[in-house]
Amino acid sequence: MVTFPGSLDDRDAARAVRAAGGEAVALWHADPWLHDVDAVILPGGFSYGDYLRCGAIARFSPVMASVIDGAHNGMPVLGICNGFQVLCEAHLLPGALVRNDHQRFVCRDQTLRVENTRTRWTSDYREGQEIVVPIKNAEGGYVADAATLDALEAEGRVVARYVDGNPNGSQRHIAGISNEAGNVVGLMPHPEHAIDALTGPGTDGLGFFRSLLGVPA
């Protein structure tokens, strides 16, 4: 679990990892050593205040050099919200995330359809399963050129889509995508806020963390 200055949901994501039965290890942005972890989560928040562009500055932190290496070597990496933005800025995932079409920050419970269950982070779900997970972002609209979008769809790399209303103007209702190998996933919604019915809309988000722990590395 990486903490950048300005990360906010790092403790939440660590809690989700523990809830799924894993051990959460804190990684610090300035420390390039990944402490021999099996997978990395880039949490939500406003790294470096999200000044300039979301994720643009975090992408250059020392820890990211190691994360990029690891991702290329097949290590599972999940970027949630701001983490998704960092992954796009780091070119581990194609496209970019731009300001919501309605221009406001939006926080709400969102229904998603899981479309690709072959990634390291989604194998615990059924294909087509609908889940409810909070979203909260101001710059969550996924954009890419038409060729990239077509390729993502053709290769089944759209991991999840928004159903019942697109909360931010994301192209083709994309809520999350993966890289070709399926080890790197970026998600705009926050599964770490849906692991306990007491503090979230339900427990639908746990599957992302369970998926990782269920598949042998």
Partner: protein
Amino acid sequence: MSPRVDLDTVEVAGETPDRAQPFKELGMAADEYARVREILGRRPTSSELAIYSVMWSEHCSYKSSIVHLRQFRDKAPATDALLVGMGENAGVVDVGDGWAVTFKIESHNHPSFVEPYQGAATGVGGIVRDILTMGARPVAVMDSLRFGPLQAADTGRVLPGVVAGVGGYGNCLGLPNIGGEIVFDESYIGNPLVNALCAGVMRADGIKLAKADGPGNHVVLFGARTGGDGIGGASVLASATFEAEGETKRPSVQVGDPFAEKVLIECCLEIFAADLVVGIQDLGAAGISCATTELAAAGTGGMDVRLDLVPLRDSGLAPEEILMSESQERMMAVVTPEKLDEFLAVCAKWDVLSTVIGTVTDTGRLRMTWHDELIVDLPPTTAANDGPVYERPIERPLDQDVLVQHDGASLPRPTRGDQLRATVLRLAASPNLADKSWVTDQYDRYVLGNTVLAQPEDAGIVRIDDSTTRGIAIATDGNGRYARLDPYAGAQLALAEAYRNVATTGARPLAVTNCLNFGSPEDPGVMWQFSEAVRGLADGCQALGVPVTGGNVSFYNQTGSTPILPTPVIGVLGVIDDVARRVPQGLRADGAQLYLLGD
């Protein structure tokens, strides 16, 4: 920067007793100025005048309200829940199992009118630092807002910026917003109210206080650099003393940097965990003037400060301006020599600028130098605690009787079904009653993973930490129309509503905070509203057995001679032993029975 040739030093002040000083422009009365001269036995230097003028302002000294606010202490019910009472940055309440909670509400009304986004954002930033200063991790924010009618042009300008500012700053800090209010009324055109509440959690043995104890200890300024924010007043001083032409009036707008505050929070929490400070104070409205005088007054009593060491954003700032700057995201700590290195190392880890600017002394004097020249030499308690106190004239307005006579009995009432239907629809569509998710959906309520109740519930609940089942419930309420009709009862109704909202979640109400938004204290009618509201609140708290732990007064909310509706906003905090047992509102089961309690 080289020392100023015509620096107004203590020595110069002694030699030029008759030099005219712009105390009026700084909002100081002639007799207040005379008292400063009496305290010092000479005329103040321009830097000393800067300090006294801000510390004795209504905003910092509560000079018009303090005689009334004392009732909160005098009538306080006996309670053993109170760990720190009124007078500190925020009160602290014992919530059991060694946990303590601090909470407070504060206004940022005028700045939000001038620059809605930044005004609201820095309002949130300021109250969060107040909570942090007590040694607590901030865990939730709430906001209580008042605007003119939805259709008014002023509302169209102010409202979107205020909501975006509250959200922008709070979301970026990673603090869940768990509730608040938004009310529309004519009287708030040109006088929007932006009251922000923050709650924080700590171990009861980890409370930090704002005091500079221990001669020889270091005074460290850390956080953002000091810039020309909010020093409209100080430029009068600077120009009157060294640049007769005067530079362009500096902006009174403070710009917030939530990212800087977020790292400041994490940095402070690490500093607290390692027990690295003797005392700590946030820099709010009166900036360095307030932090130095209050820390010294509450501690050993003296402090030496080298003002030229303050890191600046704008190298041209004069000492008077540095003293009055309201730059955000700054803190001042008192650190022992043994712990200084460790303190500075934590700051470096978080990339937080930290600078030793002074030393605690036992001289009973606050002394400041500017490039080795003495520019301030005063007894800090005189600035921090012994400000002027006014018994403002109070008079029940003449129109009050007429107003109250209209008890509504003569208003038309719906009698038929279709009329009732139309009335219900009109009420449901009124902005004051309609769904508020268009506002609350702009606030993050999930972050930190401890939010158990939030919008649209009448009270928010957060679990205080995920190692426990214990939680706190908070509600804020206020009704200016009731308070206008009867300020005494209006304040009590607001208290009772917030109290009920907390109680119905299953939490036990423990403590009260309040933000008193009124017109000009120089208007005897307004002062009557104020004194009645305070009396009502104090009596109400006594009857309910919950103490007032802190709050804030905002006067001068008026356009011309027309004040806003008197608007006491009351926050009640309660504790719930097991958050899983909280009671949400709404009917959750088919066949459930409805009961009406009370008469």
